[in-house]
C-alpha cells in the first residue's frame, strides 16, 4: 500500500484530557501506513469562546494554523477533534466564499492563508481515504464480549454545509469502521443527541440529564460500551457517570472508549499503549476476553464441533427413548 501523508493537528485536548485519543490515533494510523506531520508552532484552533465573540478573530485563530500547514506543502490536514475540525472548516469556507472576510482575516495573521488546505477528521480519512478494506486488513485480534454503541456527538457531521461528511442525521462511518474490525455494533438511535458538554460549567443539572439519556439509550440498545470520536464527548460521558448516578440514583458503569482505542485493540496493540488505563470507567473487564483472530476461529470451530456432537447425541438419545 502506498504510504499516505497528512498534516496532523492534535489540538489542545489531545495534549491534555484526551491524551489517550492522541496516543491511540497515532498508533492506529501508523499501523495503516499513514505518515503524520505535525505543524510547527501550532496554536489554538479558535473553537474556544472566540467564535461567540468575534467571527473574524475566531477565523484568524484557525487560519493561522491553516496558513502554517499551507506553507508546509501538505494539502490535507487531519484533525481528531471535531471541535478543531469545525473551526478549521468554518474559517476555510468562510474565507473561500467571501473575499472581504478573507481580507479581514488575513490582515490579522502574519502569513496570509490562501485557501489551499482541506481539513478532514481522522474518522473521515480512515473511512474515505484509507477505506474499510484496508482498515480490516490489519486486524489480528477479536473482542468477542464487546457490544459498542457508536456515538458521534453534535458537530462531527453537522451542520452539513460545514461538515461535508457522512449523513448529517444518520451517520454510519464509525459503525462501519467498527464492524470492519470485527466488533459488534448496536443499533443506537442517540448517535447525535447532545451530551451537554457545552453546558458543563453553567448548567450541570441539565448536562447530567442529557448524559443520562445517552447512557440509558446505549444500554437499551444492548451495548456495553460507547465508542466516541470527540474528546469532549468522551470526557463528559466518562467523567460524569458518577455524578449522574448520584443525581438520578442510577448505577451506570459504561466504559467510554475512543473508536481508535477499539480499533487499536483489534490491531493487537496493548491496552497500555492505547491509554485504556486512563479511562475513568474502566474497560478492563470488557477487553479481558480479547483473543487473536486465530484463537477465535479455533474456539468457533470447537464450539461448532461440540454443538454438532451435542445434537448428534440428542438425536441418539431420542432414538433410544423411542426404541425404549
Amino acid at each position: 500500500m502506498a504510504e499516505r501523508e497528512y498534516a496532523y493537528y492534535s489540538g489542545c485536548s489531545l495534549e491534555g484530557t484526551a491524551v489517550e485519543y492522541d496516543m491511540s490515533m497515532k498508533l492506529v494510523l501508523e499501523a495503516l501506513d499513514v505518515n503524520l506531520k505535525e505543524p510547527e508552532d501550532w496554536s489554538c484552533c479558535g473553537s474556544t469562546p472566540a467564535h461567540t465573540v468575534d467571527h473574524v478573530l475566531a477565523a484568524a485563530l484557525a487560519a493561522r494554523n491553516l496558513s502554517i500547514i499551507e506553507k508546509m506543502g501538505t494539502d490535507t490536514v487531519t484533525v481528531p477533534c471535531p471541535s478543531c475540525l469545525s473551526a478549521f472548516k468554518r474559517a476555510h469556507l468562510g474565507m473561500a466564499g467571501d473575499a472581504s472576510f478573507k481580507d479581514q482575516v488575513n490582515d490579522l495573521i502574519d502569513e496570509p492563508y490562501n485557501g489551499g488546505v482541506i481539513s478532514k477528521s481522522t474518522l473521515q480519512i480512515m473511512y474515505e481515504d484509507i477505506g474499510l478494506e484496508e482498515v480490516a486488513k490489519k486486524v489480528t485480534h477479536a473482542l468477542p464480549d464487546l457490544v459498542v454503541a457508536p456515538y458521534y456527538g453534535c458537530i462531527l457531521t453537522r451542520p452539513p454545509e460545514i461538515a461535508q461528511f457522512d449523513d448529517p442525521e444518520n451517520p454510519v462511518s464509525m459503525d462501519k469502521i467498527l464492524e470492519a474490525v470485527g466488533v459488534k455494533v448496536s443499533s443506537f438511535v442517540f448517535k447525535l443527541e447532545c451530551c451537554g458538554a457545552a453546558f458543563g460549567v453553567p448548567k450541570r443539572d441539565m448536562v447530567n440529564r442529557l448524559t443520562a439519556k445517552v447512557l440509558s439509550m446505549a444500554l437499551d440498545s444492548g451495548a456495553n460500551c460507547i465508542a466516541v470520536a470527540c474528546p469532549l464527548c468522551q470526557q463528559n460521558l466518562d467523567l460524569r457517570q458518577s455524578q449522574v448516578n448520584a443525581l438520578m440514583g442510577t448505577n451506570y458503569n459504561i466504559p467510554i472508549l475512543y473508536f481508535s482505542q477499539i480499533v487499536g485493540l483489534t490491531y493487537g496493540l496493548t491496552p497500555k499503549e492505547l491509554g485504556i488505563d486512563k479511562l475513568i470507567v474502566s474497560a478492563d473487564d470488557l477487553i479481558r476476553s480479547r483473543i487473536t483472530v486465530e484463537e477465535l476461529a479455533q474456539n468457533k470451530a470447537a464450539a461448532e464441533a461440540e454443538e454438532k456432537a451435542r445434537k448428534a447425541k440428542q438425536k441418539e438419545d431420542k432414538t433410544k427413548t423411542e426404541e425404549t
Binding site: D167, P168, E169, N170, V189, F190, E193, M217, D220
Partner: protein, 653 residues
Amino acid sequence: MRVGVFICHCGSNIAGTIDVAKVAAEMRKVPGVAFATNYMYTCSEPGQDEIKEAIKREKLNRIVVAACSPRMHELTFRRTIEKAGLNRYFLEMANIREHISWIGLDKEANTNKAIESVKMAVAKAMNNKPLYSQSFKVNKRVLVIGGGVAGMQAALDCADGGLEVILVEKSPSVGGMMARLDKTFPTIDCSICILGPKMVDVAQHDKIKLYAYSEVDDIKGYVGNYQIKIKKKATYVDWVKCTGCGACMEKCPAKNSYDHFNFGVAPTRAINIPFPQAIPKKAKIDPNYCRQFVKGKCGVCAKICPTGAINYEMQDEIITEDVGAIIVASGYGLVDMDKFPEYGAGRYPDVITGIQYERLLNASGPTEGHILRPSDKTEPKTVVFVSCAGSRDKSCGIPYCSNFCCMYIAKQAILTKDHIPDSQSYVFYMDIRSPGKGYDEFTRRAQEDYGAKYVRGRVSRIYPKGKKMVVVGADTLLGTQVEVEADLVVLATAVTAAPGAPQLAEKLHISYDTFGFYVEGHPKLRPVETNTAGVYLAGCAQGPKDIPASVGQGSAAASKVQALFSKDMLESDPAVAKVNENTCVGCLKCIMTCPFGAVKEKELRGGRIVANVIETVCAGCGVCTATCPCGAIQLSHFTDNQLLAEVNTICQK
C-alpha cells in the same frame, strides 16, 4: 405622425414616486408628440374615454400609455384605441409602475427613468405599422391531462356542454388522490362514495374518450389547432378482453409487488387492479415484479385468464389526437420521507405519511379499515401527527404552506378516535390553518369533542425506544420540551409538484415556478389561464388546494374552454414575421431556425427564391428576424427599426 401620450397615476401607485405631470410636460417637447396628459386611472372607463376623445379631438394616430405592465392592460388599451378607429397595433405601453414606481423610492431618478421609458415607447410607436388579423378554424375538441377530481370535473363539464373530450390519465385508473382518501373534511363523508359516481360518469360519457395508463408524449400546434401525441403505456393486458374479474390477481405468485395505489402500505400482486372501484376496472402487470418478466417464466395469469387477455409482448403505443384547447390537471406529489433524517428518513416502519394513514383508515385499504401499525400489526393507542413535515420549511426548499394538511390531520385525529375509542392523538403544529367554510369549527371539534391534544411546536426528533416511537418536540406555548411515546407517528408530508411537472410544462410551453407548480396568467384575474393561449389549469398542478377548490377550478377551466369554443373562427395574432421579397436573398437560413416550421421556400415569377411565412403557423418569436442577415424577414410589431428606435432613444453618445 401625431402621437398622444397618456401618463397614468394609478392612484398613488405611480404618482406616489413619479412626478407624472413633469413626465407629461417633457413628452410635449418630444417631436411627433401632439398631445400628452396625465390621468388618475387611465384604465377606468372615464380614463379610456379620455383617450378616445383625445384621438378624435387631436387627430392622434399613435398612442402611448404609460401605466402598468403591458402584460396587465395592453389588451384593454388596444381595444380602447380600436374603438376610436385606430389600428390596435398603434398602441405602445411604457411600464412605469412595475418597472419603475414600485421598485424605487427616489422620485427624481424615477421621474427621469419614466421620461426616458416613455420616450422609448414614443420612438417605437412612431415606427408602428397597422396590422390585421387572419381568421382560422377552431378544432372544438379539448384535451384534459389528469384524471383526478379536478380533471374529471373539467372533462365532465366540457362533455356536458357538448364538447368532445380526450382525457389522459397516467395511472391505470382515474380518481387521483381523492380516490385514496377515506373520508373528506369537514363533513366526514366517504370520499370514494362521492367520487365514484363521477368516475363512472367519465367512463360512460359518450363525449369523453379516456386514455388511462397513458401520458402526453408531444404537443405541437397552437390555440385552436393542437396535435397531441399520447403514449399508451403497455399494460400487458388487452383491455378490450379484460373483464376486471380479478382472477389473475388472486393467483399471481408475485405477492411482494409495490402497491402504488396504497403508497406501499402493504404489498400487492404483480398483476393487479389498483382498487375495487377503479375506472377502468382492468388489470395491469408491473413488469418490475412479474415473474414472467423478472425470471422469464411463470405465465400463471395467462393460464388463468378466462378471456385470454394477457399479452406479455405488448409494447407502448403512440396515438395522435387533434384538439383545440388543453386543460392541465396533472395533480401533485408528496415530499419524500428521505428529506427528514431527524424523523428517521423512512427507516422506522411506524413513522408513516398522512396518505398512508388514509389507506390504513380506509375500508377498502389493505387493513380493511382497521388501524394496525405497520411494524407489528397492533392497534396504536397513542398516535402523534406532525404537521408541516417539509411545508413552510426553507431548509427543505419548501417555503410554502401545503394548504390542506391542517384539515386532514384534524380529520384523521377524529377518525382515529372513532376507530379506537381508547386512543389518544397528539398534533404538533405551527399554526392551524382552517380558513374554509366550516373548517375552523372542524378543527375545534377534533380538540374539544375528540380530545386530540394540540401541541404548538415543532418536532425535533423521532427515535424508537422499545416498541414505542419517542417524539421529541417543543411546546412553544408552555416554553418546554415535550416527549411523547407514541405507537404510531403520522407525518403530514408537504405537497410538491407532480413528478415530471416541469417536463410536461416544457411540452405545453407554459411557465412553472421554482417548485414546479404551473404559473397562472394572473394570480388574481386569470387564475385558470396560462400565458399560452388555449392552455388552462385546474387543481393542484397550479398549487396546493383542497377538493372544493380543485373542483371549482376544474369547472372554471371548462367554462374558459366553452367560451373559447363559442366562436367557429379564431383571430390570429398578426404580430408575426413578414418577408420583404425585394430584399430577401433566398439564403433561407430562417427556415433552418424557425422553431415552428412556419417559413417555407417560395419561387417568385422569374425564378427567384425567397422565404415565405405561413401566418397562422408563425408564433411570433422572432428567431428568424435575428437569423436573417439582410433584415428581410421582420417580426411585425418588433421589427429591427422598432427596437433600434428604442435603443437609439437611450443610447446616444
